[in-house]
Each structure stands twice: as structure tokens, then as C-alpha cells.
């Protein structure tokens, strides 16, 4: 099940510094939405608002609404543990748990939520690894530490880990930033498959990547959403001159 993610008038502060200013954006289900913009523009912050990872840090404050389906997840009463189960996240740098084996990395979320045991656990781990196109490469090394895999494999392992708990929304924070072109290609393939079932929001520096994989692209600058639209349109006719400047490499 996938749900739309609707961001309404979202503002975000770290201490006194305003990082996001009145951002509104709708990421539709079964679509990839790409967030692009120069470093430090606030796109990662925007992403981390969606699973409320910022709540871990003192000094973060937020205004506005983020709706997943109909539910405003910024409500004080939101169960963050439950929210984060529903929203999977892939980080910029692959972060498999170094103390766990390949198998246990994927199983970690399942065990956390008590979703599967014994045989069904093994089956689901295998299914997720297959979905992440990693099974063939690791099926003989399931009990080896996840950290021994290559960078691209590690990132796919993280995707498998996130897939295992069946989230509704996938957040990806520059998932290919630390990978080589071949691994990047693997991941991109994977993302395309994921959008069949999930809502995917991806932050990327790489405009070609955004063009390749996303249906919608949003351009963020200095904490403001400059414009958002279908990727094909945005890349050809940017409505805002700043977007155009960025896309043509005159800025950033």
C-alpha cells in the first residue's frame, strides 16, 4: 500500500536559524519525487522531517503539516516509532550495522517489530534480498558481516533492510553519492522497481539521475521550494530563472 505524502507550509528551525521556509509539496504514490538543489539548501532536512528524525536532536522546531495519506504526522500525538516503521529511509552513506551479519542486517527491522520468526523470517529476508537484487551475490555469505560487502552492495543491503518492514514511503538521501557508476546503475534500477509499489522521495545532487529516475522534481534553494513539476517539463522549461540557472550549471 502506498500513500501520497503532502507537505503543507512546512517551516523548520534549528535553534534560531530557519532552515525551511513555508515549503509545500505533494509526492504522489507510486512515483519518484526528486529533490534537487545546491548543498545546504535544506533538501535533506526536508526529507528528515518526513520520518521525524530531527526529533532526536535538541533545538529542532517545526511548523506546518506533513500528511501521509490523511494523517498529519507532525501532530504531537504521532507515534514516532510507528511512523518510522511506515517510512523507510536510505542514507547517503551506506550504514549496515557492522556488528551484524548480512542476514541479521535485513532481519533487524523484522526482529525489532516482532514481524516474523523462524522460517517465515528466513523467507522474508530472502525475499527482500531478492527484491534488492542482492540475493545472488550474498546468498553464500549470509553469516558474514555486512560491512565486508562493497559500497554498492552495502547500499542495496540497506535497501533490503528497509524493504523488510514493508514501509509505505521510501526516503532516499543521495543514496548513490558514495558509489561508483556501476553500483549507481544497480541502485537506480532498483528505485525504478520500487516505485511500482511505494512512494519514493529522493534527494540527489545529480541532475541526470533526477532526470533518469524521477517523475516529479522539486528545486529547493535557501530553504525555499522554488518550483516543482513533472521532471520532463522542469528540465526543459523551468518556470523560474533560478531553476534554470541551476540546471544549466550557472549557479550552485
Amino acid at each position: 500500500m502506498a500513500l501520497d505524502v503532502t507537505i503543507e507550509n512546512l517551516s523548520f528551525w534549528f535553534g534560531r536559524q530557519q532552515v525551511l521556509k513555508n515549503v509545500s509539496l505533494r509526492a504522489c504514490q507510486k512515483e519518484v519525487t526528486a529533490l534537487i538543489g545546491p548543498s545546504g539548501c535544506g533538501k535533506t532536512t526536508l526529507l528528515r522531517c518526513i520520518n521525524r528524525l530531527h526529533d532526536l536532536y535538541a533545538g529542532a522546531s517545526v511548523a506546518g503539516k506533513i500528511l501521509i495519506g490523511e494523517e498529519n504526522i507532525l501532530d504531537a500525538g504521532t507515534n514516532r516509532v510507528e511512523l518510522r516503521r511506515r517510512v523507510g529511509m536510505i542514507f547517503q552513506k551506506p550504514n549496515p550495522f557492522p556488528h551484524l551479519s548480512v542476514f541479521e542486517n535485513v532481519a533487524s527491522g523484522l526482529r525489532l517489530h516482532g514481524l516474523a520468526y523462524g522460517r517465515s523470517l528466513r523467507e522474508r529476508v530472502e525475499a527482500c534480498l531478492r527484491k534488492a537484487a542482492l540475493w545472488d551475490e550474498v546468498k553464500d555469505f549470509l553469516d558474514r558481516p555486512g560491512a565486508l560487502l562493497s559500497g554498492g552492495q552495502q547500499q542495496r543491503l540497506c535497501i533490503a533492510r528497509a524493504l523488510a518492514i514493508e514501509p509505505e514511503v521510501f526516503l532516499m538521501d543521495e543514496p548513490c553519492a558514495s558509489l561508483d557508476p556501476v553500483s549507481t546503475m544497480h541502485i537506480e534500477e532498483l528505485i525504478k522497481e520500487l516505485q511500482e509499489e511505494y512512494t519514493v522521495i529522493i534527494v540527489t545532487h545529480n541532475m541526470q539521475q533526477a532526470a533518469r529516475i524521477s517523475r516529479q522534481t522539486a528545486f529547493v534553494l535557501h530553504g525555499e521550494l522554488v518550483e516543482a513539476g513533472p521532471t520532463a517539463e522542469l528540465f526543459v522549461h523551468a518556470r523560474d530563472s533560478r531553476t534554470e540557472a541551476y540546471l544549466t550549471g550557472k549557479m550552485g
Binding site: N79, V81, E82, R85, H113, G114
Partner: protein
């Protein structure tokens, strides 16, 4: 999911236990400090810090020579231990996987755990018995033996934090290994190494047995590195086990001075890191 609430509750309980543990630990430690300050503070005066000690029944004794003696021996120890310890750390950093490195690391760890009495005994046997002379020099050497492994292990840790890319850049510019280490790696790790040195100094300043066995003690000012020299821990030890109230009182004062000295060193180390971090 229905059980997430329960999981949050289950999470709260051990967290509360940790909070309680921290509260308990910190309050007990704070109480101990309070007690030392309370007993020792009344004794301390400028005269106490600068006068020579006096025997029981003669008022006005101070800890001036012990304070100076401790400073001299700790400085001497640092002077010997820092170059040697840092050099060993550089070796460990340059050849992290060699057998000698593994052995040296192991030896350092063992050395940090050797009871201090045994270190004192070692220097006593090798130096004091040979020369027939207790001396500040022997005391400094004993303290250096205690400080060296601490400095080596912490310095290695700090050197390891210097990014490899820096070294490679330096070597790529045509600098020799030696130049890279001396002009780039060591300065970059200086703040961290300094912290390790200060901790080692704090450790050395509190040692009783090694100093008693090597530098003995004295009621005079230290004038010569080759003569018996007074030190704070030995003075505290001797005074604390005497039955006389005025000596016991002075032992508390001296203990407070020692604690404050060690604490000051640590504060200095922390500020040093803070400043260095700030500068990048």
C-alpha cells in the same frame, strides 16, 4: 501496530534505571570531593604552601619542599617520557601491522597495569642500589616508566585520527616520511597528545610507592637532582599514618592540594582541546 506503546514503556524502564545509576554515581563521587575539600580547606594558607615541614610540636609547618619536589620529579618524568613515548607512538602509527608494533602495544598495556610498587622496586634495584643514592632523578625515572605507556597509547590513538589523505598529500609533494611526521602529523595531533601527556602527569603526581622507593623524602628544599627529595604523596602518606593531630590535619591539606593540582591539569587539558578544536 498495537505493541509499539508497550515497547515504549519497556524502553522507559531501563532508561530510568540508567538515569538513577548516573545520579547515584555522580552524587557519591561528588560527596567524596566535598569531604576532601571540607577537611582540607581549613589548613591551606600561603604559608602552608611555601614553608618547609616541621616536626610534631613545632607549629607552622608547610609543604613547600614537597610541592616543589613533586613538581620537579613530575617534570623530569615528563621530560623523559614524552619524547620516548611519542616516538614509540610514531613507530606504531607508521608500522601499525608489524610484529614489533603489536608487541610494543601489548607491552604498553601490560605496563599500564603493573602495580606502581613494582615499578618503584624496579628503579630502586637498578638505580638506587647501584649508586647507593636516593635521588630526585631516580624518582623522575620511576615516574617516567609509569607515564610512558600512557603517553604512547594515547598518542597513537591521536596520530591515527590524522587523515591518511593528509599524509599522502605531503608525501606526494615530495616530503620525506620524517618531514611528514615532524611537520604535519605531529603538529596536527598535538592537542590530543598534549591531553594524553597531562593525564599521564596527573597519574604520576599521585604516586606514593614508586617515589618513596626512589626519591625517599627530605625536610629540606630540593637543590640538587642527585639528592633525596620530598614529594606530596609521600608527605601525605607519612603524615596520615602518624598519631599526631597537627600532622594529620596537614595531610588533609596536602591531599587537597594534590587533588586540586590534578584537577587543574585536567581542566587545562580540556580547555586545551576546546581551543584546539576551535582553531580546527
Amino acid at each position: 501496530m498495537p505493541d509499539t506503546k508497550w515497547r515504549l514503556v519497556k524502553s522507559f524502564v531501563p532508561e530510568a534505571v540508567c538515569r538513577l545509576a548516573a545520579l547515584l554515581v555522580i552524587s557519591v563521587l561528588f560527596l567524596i570531593l566535598y569531604y576532601i575539600f571540607q577537611r582540607g580547606a581549613g589548613v591551606i594558607s600561603p604559608a602552608f604552601l611555601t614553608a618547609l615541614p616541621t616536626p610534631v610540636g613545632v607549629p607552622g609547618g608547610g609543604i613547600g619542599n614537597a610541592l616543589l619536589g613533586s613538581l620537579v620529579m613530575v617534570a623530569l618524568g615528563a621530560l623523559l617520557a614524552v619524547p620516548c613515548g611519542v616516538a614509540a607512538a610514531v613507530y606504531l602509527d607508521q608500522n601499525p601491522k608489524s610484529r614489533l608494533a603489536a608487541a610494543c602495544r601489548f607491552a604498553s598495556r601490560v605496563l599500564t597495569g603493573v602495580p606502581s610498587l613494582i615499578v618503584g622496586l624496579f628503579v630502586f634495584t637498578l638505580l638506587v642500589l647501584r649508586t647507593g643514592q636516593y635521588s630526585a632523578l631516580a624518582g623522575g625515572i620511576a615516574l617516567a616508566v609509569m607515564m610512558m605507556p600512557v603517553i604512547t597509547l594515547s598518542a597513537e590513538e591521536m596520530l591515527r585520527l590524522v587523515p591518511n589523505s593528509w599524509r599522502e598529500a605531503s608525501l606526494a609533494l615530495g616530503a620525506s616520511k620524517k618531514q611528514t611526521v615532524l611537520r604535519l602529523v605531529l603538529p596536527a595531533a598535538a592537542a590530543g597528545i598534549a591531553v594524553g601527556v597531562m593525564l599521564a602527569v596527573a597519574l604520576a603526581a599521585g604516586q606514593t610507592a614508586p617515589v618513596l622507593l626512589t626519591a625517599l623524602t627530605s625536610i629540606f628544599w630540593p637543590e640538587n637532582l642527585l639528592q633525596p627529595t620530598a614529594s606530596l604523596p609521600v608527605l601525605i602518606y607519612t603524615y596520615a599514618i602518624s598519631p599526631f593531630a597537627d600532622w594529620q590535619q596537614q595531610a588533609w591539606g596536602a591531599a587537597l592540594v594534590l587533588v586540586v593540582m590534578v584537577l587543574m591539569l585536567n581542566i587545562a587539558a580540556q580547555l586545551f582541546i576546546a581551543v584546539k578544536n576551535r582553531r580546527g
